[in-house]
């Protein structure tokens, strides 16, 4: 009786997984074996390994890596300072707040700020550097992406820092450890799970960014995400789009496995 009722509660979950996770994945896999005319083919997979798509893959990974790196470099000290403030939950809320605003709105806001006559260029004028092209550059693309992903990096790191037992820091200090040694040998290894979680949350979506590449990077940066969008919406080559998606999914799974929780931290 008890197991029966428990199974009953599982129904919504199982339905959800089947409808919105398993089916789409199978559909993507299914479509990847058809060419644009609807004939079964393995051509899409061969096509993926041509320089065009490999270069695109490489550039996707490179930009995702840069975005993750800069997010981490900014997020870790920020999260650390947050745990030291008096009203840390309030400060955290203020940092998370922008992530509730629609991505598109934020992207358009940056179009205004970084535009030729935008705030950023006015500032450069005042500083005597003179206005220059900011929009549609690698810099603006990475800057805006980091801005958008930052809360997602800060949150897990903040949580792991906040959970850290403060007596451990006393203990390290007591055993002769300076602040730097304490950070290197105790704080960082013990918050590594938070760092990994943050990197996952940033790196994986960053791999398939597509809207920002168009709005902020002006299509100068073409990632796998952009390619998928183009194939589905412009060239109508659903087969090729699905094939790229399959590789993207494989890449994501690999990253999840590689950055997954291990028994112990680094040494």
């Amino acid at each position: 009786m008890r197991t029966n009722s428990r199974n009953f509660y599982l129904i919504p979950y199982v339905l959800w997984i089947l409808l919105f996770v398993v089916t789409p994945l199978l559909l993507v896999l299914y479509y990847s074996f058809f060419d644009i005319e609807g004939h079964f083919t393995l051509e899409n997979y061969r096509e993926f390994f041509t320089p065009v798509y490999l270069k695109m893959t490489l550039s996707s990974f490179w930009y995702a890596f840069l975005i993750t790196l800069f997010s981490l470099l900014i997020a870790y000290p920020t999260a650390y300072l947050l745990t030291k403030t008096k009203h840390k939950q309030l400060w955290l809320l203020l940092i998370i707040l922008p992530s509730w605003i629609n991505l598109l709105l934020k992207a358009y806001a940056f179009l205004g700020i970084f535009g030729t006559y935008g705030a950023a260029n006015s500032f450069l004028e005042v500083m005597g550097i003179g206005s220059r092209q900011i929009l549609f550059t690698d810099f603006s693309f990475i800057f805006v992406s980091v801005y958008i992903f930052l809360p997602f990096m800060i949150l897990p790191i903040f949580n792991s820092l906040d959970e850290l037992n403060p007596t451990l820091l006393d203990a390290s200090n007591d055993l002769g450890g300076s602040s730097w040694v304490t950070f290197k040998r105790v704080i960082f290894p013990l918050t590594l799970d938070g760092v990994k979680a943050g990197c996952q949350i940033v790196f994986i979506p960053a791999l398939s960014l597509f809207m920002l590449t168009r709005l902020i990077a002006g299509n100068r940066v073409i990632t796998l995400g952009t390619a998928i969008e183009q194939h589905f919406l412009v060239t109508q080559d659903w087969g090729m789009g699905s094939t790229i998606a399959v590789f993207l999914i494989i890449a994501m799974v690999l990253i999840m496995v590689l950055t997954g929780r291990r028994k112990r931290g680094i040494l």
């Binding site: 451990l168 006393d170 203990a171 390290s172 055993l175 002769g176 013990l190 931290g265 040494l267």
Partner: protein, 368 residues
């Protein structure tokens, strides 16, 4: 101050923000190579003293001396002191060896040297062969030992122990009391042990500081403090006590419970109001008319080694008796005690005045 003094507190006050001070003008000395216990209820300031010695916090007023030098502003990582924390604070990402070697690695000792010292420390705490264990695979008692090994391996001059036994079960706790005491004797390092458990304090210490609301109420050897508590708080906190109001008629004669008794205390004003203490184990049950006091048995608990019997005299004073003999609830019984069992406490007497009076009347009694 003798050469043997290693730590000295000179009128140290500690307050956090604008709250009332947690430590009020405390002065004391710690001698090399002894086992000290800071004993008191929670919130009495004992852990604050430990944190001040360790260097995790700085005094608001007063000075702390270490080997004759003021160390108020010396950071914790530069002090010759190591701490065993209440929750052990072992690094969960490191195994036993790495935990113990943590301090040695910071000092940049040679690898072979580190290995030798860690092995030796593990031998001291009876954990040989546990080097590669993960902390999470160890029991509470074993973690406790690792924490102690991690402290002693650095060969500090003082080891601070912050209620390190409170998380262990009774049997293990008693076992560790013996081990800690033995370890301290073998190493010859000064131990400063913080606890709220008076039995633990009595069993282990060379010297006890009894603390209450930021002040040291009394310091002395365990027997001093048990036999000669200075005031009601100490008498009540250390062991079970019968405390009743009385009056000192003259030296060696005290009146309480409506009767006159011979006692061994002196140095009071004639007819001074006092409090008298008799320990429950100093009371013996007799036939109703043979005892010095006549009481009625109110309740009785079997405690294993003895019965704890609660009685009331005709004035309504409660008398707690520890006896191996059984009593019957509701019966009238007599209580006998020796003059030495009566301890007289003066109201509001400080430790200094207490010591002075003790010396004065002891000298007097020698002349007689």
């Amino acid at each position: 101050m003798t050469d043997n003094t290693i730590i000295r507190f000179n009128s140290v006050t500690k307050r956090y923000d604008n709250d009332p001070p947690v430590l009020k003008n405390v002065s004391f000395e710690i001698e090399r190579g002894k086992f000290y216990t800071l004993l008191g209820p929670s919130g009495c300031g004992k852990t604050t003293i430990l944190r001040l010695i360790a260097g995790f916090t700085e005094p608001s007023e007063g000075d702390i001396y270490f080997n004759g030098k003021v160390i108020n502003h010396v950071p914790a990582n530069k002090r010759q002191v190591n701490t065993v924390f209440q929750d052990y604070a072992l690094f969960p990402h490191l195994n036993v060896f790495e935990n113990i070697a943590f301090g040695l690695k910071i000092k940049k000792l040679k690898k072979a040297e580190i290995e030798r010292k860690v092995k030796e420390a593990l031998r001291f705490v009876n954990l040989e062969g546990y080097e590669n264990r993960e902390i999470k695979d160890m029991s509470g008692g074993q973690r406790q030992r690792v924490a102690i090994a991690r402290a002693i391996v650095n060969e500090p001059e003082v080891i601070l122990l912050d209620e390190p036994l409170s998380a262990l079960d009774l049997k293990l706790r008693t076992e560790m009391q013996y081990e800690l005491r033995e370890l301290q004797r073998n190493l010859g390092i000064t131990f400063i042990f913080v606890t709220h458990d008076q039995e633990e304090a009595l069993a282990m210490s060379d010297e006890i500081f009894v603390l209450n609301s930021g002040k040291i109420e009394q310091s002395g050897t365990p027997t001093d403090i048990y036999d000669e508590p200075i005031n009601r708080f100490v008498a009540d906190f250390i062991g079970e006590s019968n405390i009743v109001a009385g009056a000192m008629i003259k030296d060696y004669e005290v009146r309480f419970a409506g009767k006159l008794f011979e006692c061994v205390d002196g140095g009071f004003e004639p007819n001074e109001e006092v409090e008298i203490v008799i320990r429950p184990e100093d009371l013996a049950i007799t036939a109703p008319d043979d005892g010095k006091l006549k009481v009625k048995v109110d309740s009785q608990l079997f405690r294993g080694v003895h019965y704890e019997i609660s009685c009331y005299d005709s004035d309504g004073n409660e008398w707690l008796v520890h006896s191996t003999k059984k009593a019957t609830v509701g019966d009238q019984i007599g209580l006998h005690f020796d003059p030495e069992a009566i301890h007289v406490m003066r109201h509001g007497e400080t430790e200094e005045e207490f010591d002075k009076r003790l010396e004065a009347y002891e000298e007097g009694s020698h002349e007689n």
